[in-house]
């Protein structure tokens, strides 16, 4: 249970959401705003009002492209992208039904591959995502095929010699 969303974000991630005076510069520069329900400025307001459920179940927090335009423009030096990444982690930890399941699936698969190999492996990642995501299997297939035909998704994975050490980092970072 989260009592005070703003305080929790500050305690765990160091960002001061309460400094926002709603100038909207973040929102004016957000490239994915048209796909969002609220946008960054309203999300910050909702955090201040401690609307925990609405914030943590919103798909907005998964639609952020991580471009840091908001963080760059904020006159109060709030790293809004970092706040959104914090909200993602809190939404998962608190067991919310995630607004963008395919985005979460992608991140989980990506880290799953890195945990095993120490490095990413696009062929495994693309294949697993294709099978497990909600996007119909045959939709968006040609992109993967075009990459494959040009030898850009090697079938055999690359493994770092320190894969064991990387796995240890995963174990100690849970």
């Amino acid at each position: 249970m989260i009592d005070d969303l703003a305080r929790e974000i500050n305690r765990r991630f160091g960002e001061h959401v309460e400094l926002c005076y709603h100038c909207h510069k973040c929102t004016a520069g957000c490239p994915v705003l048209p796909a969002m329900d609220y946008g960054p400025d309203r999300l910050l307001r909702m955090i201040a009002l401690n609307q925990v459920d609405e914030v943590l179940k919103s798909s907005d927090i998964w639609l952020c492209a991580g471009c840091y335009t908001c963080a760059t423009r904020c006159p109060n030096e709030i790293d809004i992208a970092a706040v959104i990444h914090a909200l993602r982690q809190m939404a998962v930890a608190e067991g919310y039904r995630v607004g963008e399941p395919d985005a979460l699936l992608f991140h989980r698969l990506f880290l799953g591959v890195v945990e095993r190999l120490g490095r990413s492996h696009e062929a495994a990642l693309l294949g697993l995502f294709k099978v497990l995501s909600r996007i119909p299997l045959l939709q968006d297939m040609d992109a993967g095929i075009r990459l494959f035909l040009r030898g850009k998704v090697p079938i055999l994975p690359e493994r770092t010699l320190g894969a064991g050490k990387v796995r240890e980092l995963f174990n100690r970072s849970r």
Binding site: H85, R150, G162
Partner: protein, 282 residues
Amino acid sequence: MAYAYYPGCSLHSTGLEYSLSIEAVFRHLGLELVEVPDWNCCGASSAHSLNHDLALALPTRNLALAQGMGRDLVTPCAACYNRLKGADHTLRSDPRTRVEMEKRIGFEYRGDLSIRPLLAVVYEDYGLARVHSHVKHPLTGLKVVPYYGCLLLRPPHITQFDDPDDPQVMGAILDALGAEVQPWSYASECCGGSLSLSRPELVKGLVGKLVAAAREAGAEAMVTACPLCQVNLEMRQARSAGMPVFYFTELMGLAFGLPETLKWWRKHLVDPQPLLERIKPV
């Protein structure tokens, strides 16, 4: 000059032509890249979405490996640069976290490692005059726009590279190669690369806007320094758009007259050869 080199995962897969062109161009210029032994994935862009701790630990292990090499750490990938530089910033400014990471990874953070994007090495260390002196076939008639995307430039207190609102470095390099650099205002707009798999339709919209803006600026090709932007821009543009997206190192190799270029063009999702045929020097 020699550098510690962190290629990142993309350079060995979707960014293959970036990797190949870097090897060829740096060999040609006599700049040595020594790969960080046993490097691991930096975690971009998933670790910081799911696990704050891991998002720091993964790049920190690479910093620990590079620190022992005693050279500047250079990376060609914008996302890796952002994560490595961000981790270094945290270790430098947050002593409690630093101690925790030192324990977890088993190293002592010295804080003397300089982390730099590949563009900076070419521009600052090698210099435009020397780049220009290697040009055999000036890229006259090739109208291009430089495209940086997000992670080389933002957030600026982390990246500390170029002007985040009006970046200059790549345009200056392309100019030294003889290309016709077109002014445009989208050099640091986001292409949506991190959503490319989970939200392809949304990303097609973002890429479509960028490609249209490049076309409107008079460009026939875009040039980038990020493997995630490059594959996203070529993969998510309309098939009819036909806008090739080069790595800046590919155009260096082309202007230097290196024999390997054909291998790079074959890796592109948008074939740049018809365009290059048209501007071929007589």
